[in-house]
Amino acid sequence: MKNRLFVYAAVAAATTVIPLVAGAQATDTLAKVKSAGSITMGVRDSSGALSYTLGDGKYVGYHIEICQRIVANIEKAVGKKLEIKYQPVTSQNRIPLVQNGTVDIECGSTTNNATRQKDVAFALTTYVEEVRIAVRTNSNITSIKQLDGKNLATTTGTTSVQTLRKHERATGVDFKEVFGKDHADSFLLLESGRAEAFVMDGQILAGNIATSKNPTDFHIVGEVLNVEPIAIMVRKDDPAMKKVADDTIRELQKSGELPKLYDKWFVQPIPPKNTRIGLAASEATKAAWANLNDKPMEDYAKK
């Protein structure tokens, strides 16, 4: 019995103490990386061309390249060469890892929204994602309205699931959602005919279509279902760090490099297989570049 009490006490202690320890990290990232001589970049395994792995611990992508520019400016600010460490993160752990100091700057595909702004800070928006619909070319579907009562694939753990739920409520249509456990799985649902459409971030749809067996069998159609600003994430209450990140993005915009970087990753062939995503910058993304800001997703919906 004593043993069991001890276990309960230990569990209770662990659940209360860990978050306290996590919250007690210093928020001066510049001082931290200067004394450590290294900076840890949070990266994703497969977030389309924003952030992905080539294997062998190599990570590349549009946001990673922007982050490398930011790190170069951090090196200038602290007057020291920094070693870049890559830490793969998932959508489940990216925010805790930034908060507790494991990751200094997250360069993935994180949507900037009001809830997250309570926990972390976002650099200026560098990419605006549009949620779109991919269908089989031979299906004659051109709009979300035609999908009433049909099977719709989307991926568990993405904001698209909630977008669909809200859309159903607002328009009264009834989708039969089938959930893939990852994007490849959801695309397979569309490919195998279990679903008539795949609803997801435009660049992910474009990427999956580009790497499928017959890219001409699928296309992206219909209206934009949701707009989400995607941004690089840093710790909250660390104005010096956010300033370096924001200033770097402003520089890239002023010099005209931002569209070039976009073109490099989203339009031109990219490693490892030299496929093209072939997704020109959306109007929303161009608007974000023209008017650099760190507004959360909720401000986009208001428009």
Binding site: P19, Q92, P96, T115, T156, V161, F179
Partner: protein
């Protein structure tokens, strides 16, 4: 970081359903998948385990051995994938089978292979004399199994069956891969929508732990109820496995 347990009372965007209600629904799916799969697993496990011990039927024994090796040697997630994506390629009609049925059969068959081995072990642990005595009494082979061997064998293997039932409950989390909105899917989805992953995962973990504990207690209760005085002197009713 601060706690925000109020997140469970937020509307999930569908209008009128809170995350708490969603989690309870999801818990229901988890229990339904695990419960139905358990019935399939017990029935097929008992059948296949029995077949594996039949003395004079090499064909049936071979069939049961194939069943066990097939379902035990392939990871359960891969099995579900085969049922969900590959089988419909070969048999187009299979596309119409609801994914709930697929996951119940998939998990049930996987677990049945493990239970079959326990049933076999249980039967083989009985002294040979039991079968001989039953046959000498004039019982047929089927009757000997039904009235003599299986009742004893099942009592012997109740503790490992308890573990198996608890594993099945936790394995039911693979159902999220075939679009069943059970607890694991709820956790993955709700943490993304609310950005309160730690609270969501703590709540879901508690529900899994609670469910497994209830299964454990229920099996221990059954174990005590069916205990025969004098037959299992060496076997204490702990059931914690």
């Amino acid at each position: 970081m601060t706690w925000d347990w109020q997140v469970f009372l937020n509307d999930d965007g569908s209008g009128g359903r809170t995350y708490l209600q969603w989690m309870v629904d999801a818990w229901g799916w988890t229990l339904a998948v695990a419960g139905c799969a358990w019935v399939v697993a017990l029935l097929m496990g008992a059948l296949m385990g029995t077949l594996r011990t039949l003395p004079h039927s090499p064909w049936l024994r071979g069939l049961a051995t194939c069943w066990v090796e097939l379902f035990r040697n392939i990871p359960v997630l891969v099995q579900l994938f085969l049922w969900y994506f590959v089988v419909p390629k070969l048999v187009p009609a299979a596309q119409g089978i609801p994914s709930f049925v697929l996951v119940v059969l998939g998990l049930g068959f996987f677990t049945s292979a493990r239970i079959a081995e326990q049933v076999r072990a249980g039967i083989q642990s009985l002294p040979r004399g039991q079968m001989d005595a039953a046959l000498a009494m004039g019982l047929t082979t089927a009757q000997s199994y039904r009235y003599v061997l299986l009742p004893m064998a099942f009592r012997i293997i109740l503790p490992p069956l308890t573990s198996e039932a608890m594993s099945l409950l936790k394995n039911s989390s693979v159902a999220f891969a075939v679009s069943i909105s059970e607890l694991t899917m709820f956790a993955m989805q709700a943490q993304e929508e609310t950005s309160r992953g730690i609270e969501i995962y703590i709540a879901v973990t508690a529900l899994y732990a609670l469910s497994a504990l209830v299964v454990n207690r229920a099996m221990v209760w059954i174990e005590r109820r069916v205990q025969l005085p004098g037959t299992m002197a060496t076997h204490s009713a702990g059931g914690r496995s």
